[in-house]
Subunit: 390 residues, 2 copies
């Protein structure tokens, strides 16, 4: 079966997370991704835990299906190899701080001169232009400066980081989307371009209407825990042995919830007859629900409210729960792969399920410099035979 | 200037958030998006706040640059119009619960029979297959079942929803990426397909190495507030008048931090000489840093640590801060648009900055059924002249 990105060549100069995940999203779809790594040390994340038989699972997750060649980007002979690779490439992915690739002589302008059709995707903390462009960023900073941290957490607690590196992940995703848009554009026009994605911007774009709630009312959205800003009951509730989410955003679901918990009286209770009124009396309603839930385990409550009554409701899945979950297994979001050095490894799938060309995820990441011979042999053969133009 | 998706026709059957945002990402890149809405009422989100002069800013944000036609999907005459639109379309976006489009006779199999080249992008809570497929989902449930809620928040607090609708936003993003991959595949092979994205899967895929930390160690990752799981000092710290983030993930940054705060003694302190040791003595280090920060305002601390010393460090931007921020303005992540009915509105940009074909975001959303005449006129003209094939 032909893969959607079969024949598309990606040069991955990136390290750690946002860039590597962007390139992995392309590799899953069939692109040939050549990862260019620092000699001896490789991508920093090769040295990040968790480890399995000395192999970094961190590196594994974000570099599956890639090829690796170790090149010294400050060495002229190695830079010649890079130039040859760029001539044949379709997409470059890099996530250095803006200016680093320029210092190496590998910025978009230079690469465009080598290959005018190249698509050059840069993912950075703050982007290629703008006053913060040169500031150093980690995910924590991108989440904080993008506004997400200020609205995550409980009202009387400090602002809270999202539990995963959302700035990197969203940077990777917008970067992959942008790369595909640019590739499609090039397919039709022959024109390459520079794709500039800033983690701070991607966090900001994920805030959805929080931004407009402020710009229209002048009120700065604060932290509201797990509540919905305008709908109630829509929160995390305490049951007998843990927490459960219930998400009711309209009158008919509220009616069904009241019937399910045997409290039909609440349907016509003047405090709760509309969503705005329920939101106004949120504390009372939460009290009533938690008093009810105190008699039921999370499992019992989910069965009654979520499964039988069909109200959006579930337990809070731990990582262990999702990994063991049948749904995740069937949808190949969790699977095992046989790694030549680490042994059997559990891996995370690609959520884009394409009916005719499903993502190819059961691949392992390369050892450092593993594909040197193959890559060099190909270059030696193709030198002089590279063609340009449409 | 030619837009990358110029000439690409998208039919948007979706409502509220994940589907509409997915289609907006395509509209920003130049696709012609026709939104098919319920007569009289339209997309539910037309009735969601915040409102400006009675216009929903919620609807505005996720439907800019689209055309609108009101059609009754249970009426045979209107379904004929849908069929004509499908003949000419490249991509369908829908976010009904699986099965709803089938009941309406508008599922992928049917649409494929009408237009074999169609790309049909479905975004749902749990996907088109798998045991949870029919369960109802809101974002809160997708976040909880995808595992994100369990790892967001402070150790002694309840699990916490991410402050925005991350399940919808990530569903939209993977959906837009998948649509582009499918479109590129079709450009080269003529083959359309069904793109199936589940919000629960997308949340799970955003967990990054949290999953592997569990599968390798058997330890279930819990909530660690805003800390980094393996690096220290990497957290939110209390300064004199508020909170600040400091993100130090290696020895050289730690050295620079110690010098900046005049505590060179800490560099060789046996408790802090390596990152694992700093993480082991995280509480003591936090105490030392917060004792120091107690004498400085957030602004002073950011200036010293973040700007002058170049350590990843910043204040926690509120929504107000980011909206007013010069960097966000210069990168067009925030801008004003003149709305014909609502007046001047502040809007959120698209973070994919394409150098040759920048996203076109300064457009407004349509009034309900606004483009009926234009769409019908076009259909009447093109009936009988539609061409198929590559």
């Amino acid at each position: 079966m032909r893969q959607p990105l079969e024949g598309v060549k990606v040069l991955d100069f990136s390290r750690v997370l946002a860039g590597p995940y962007c390139a992995t999203l392309l590799a899953d779809m069939g692109a040939e991704v050549i990862k260019i790594e620092r000699p001896k040390y490789g991508d920093d994340s090769r040295h990040f835990g968790p480890f399995q038989n000395k192999e970094s699972a961190y590196f594994e997750l974000f570099n599956r299906g890639k090829k690796s060649i170790a090149l010294n980007l400050k060495d002229d002979r190695d830079l010649e190899i890079v130039e040859q690779l760029v001539r044949e490439a379709d997409i470059i992915v890099e996530n250095f701080r803006p200016g680093v690739m320029k210092k190496l002589g590998l910025d978009y302008e230079k690469m465009k001169a080598v290959n005018p059709r190249i698509i050059y995707t840069s993912i950075s903390g703050f982007g290629q232009y703008g006053p913060y462009s040169q500031r150093p960023a980690y995910d924590l900073v991108a989440q904080a400066m993008g506004g997400m941290t200020s609205i995550t957490g409980h009202p009387n607690d400090p602002p809270t980081r999202v539990g995963s590196s959302l700035g990197d992940m969203s940077g990777a995703l917008y970067g992959a989307f942008g790369s595909m848009v640019a590739l499609y554009h090039r397919e039709r026009t022959g024109e390459g371009q520079h794709v500039d994605v800033a983690m701070m911007d991607t966090i900001f774009s994920m805030l959805e209407t929080n931004v407009l709630r402020y710009t229209i009312s002048g009120e700065n959205p604060g932290r509201i825990g797990s509540r919905h800003p305008i709908s109630t009951p829509f929160d995390i509730y305490q049951a007998k042995d843990g927490y459960i989410v219930i998400a009711v955003a309209n009158d008919s679901l509220f009616k069904r919830l009241c019937e399910t918990i045997g409290r039909e009286d609440l349907i016509t209770d003047p405090r709760f007859i509309t969503d705005p009124l329920r939101t106004k009396h949120e504390k009372e309603l939460k009290g009533i629900l938690e008093k009810y839930l105190a008699d039921y385990t999370v499992e019992e409550a989910e069965e009654m409210i979520g499964i039988k009554a069909g109200i959006p409701c579930s337990k809070i899945y731990t990582i262990q729960d999702v990994v063991a979950d049948e749904h995740s297994r069937i949808r190949e979001m969790v699977f095992e792969v046989e790694h030549p050095r680490a042994g059997k490894m559990t891996m995370v799938g690609n959520p884009v399920k394409l009916s005719k060309t499903p993502p190819q995820v059961k691949k392992v990441a390369p050892a450092l410099d593993e594909h040197r011979e193959e890559i060099m042999e190909h270059l030696n053969k193709s030198v002089g035979s590279v063609e340009y133009g449409l």
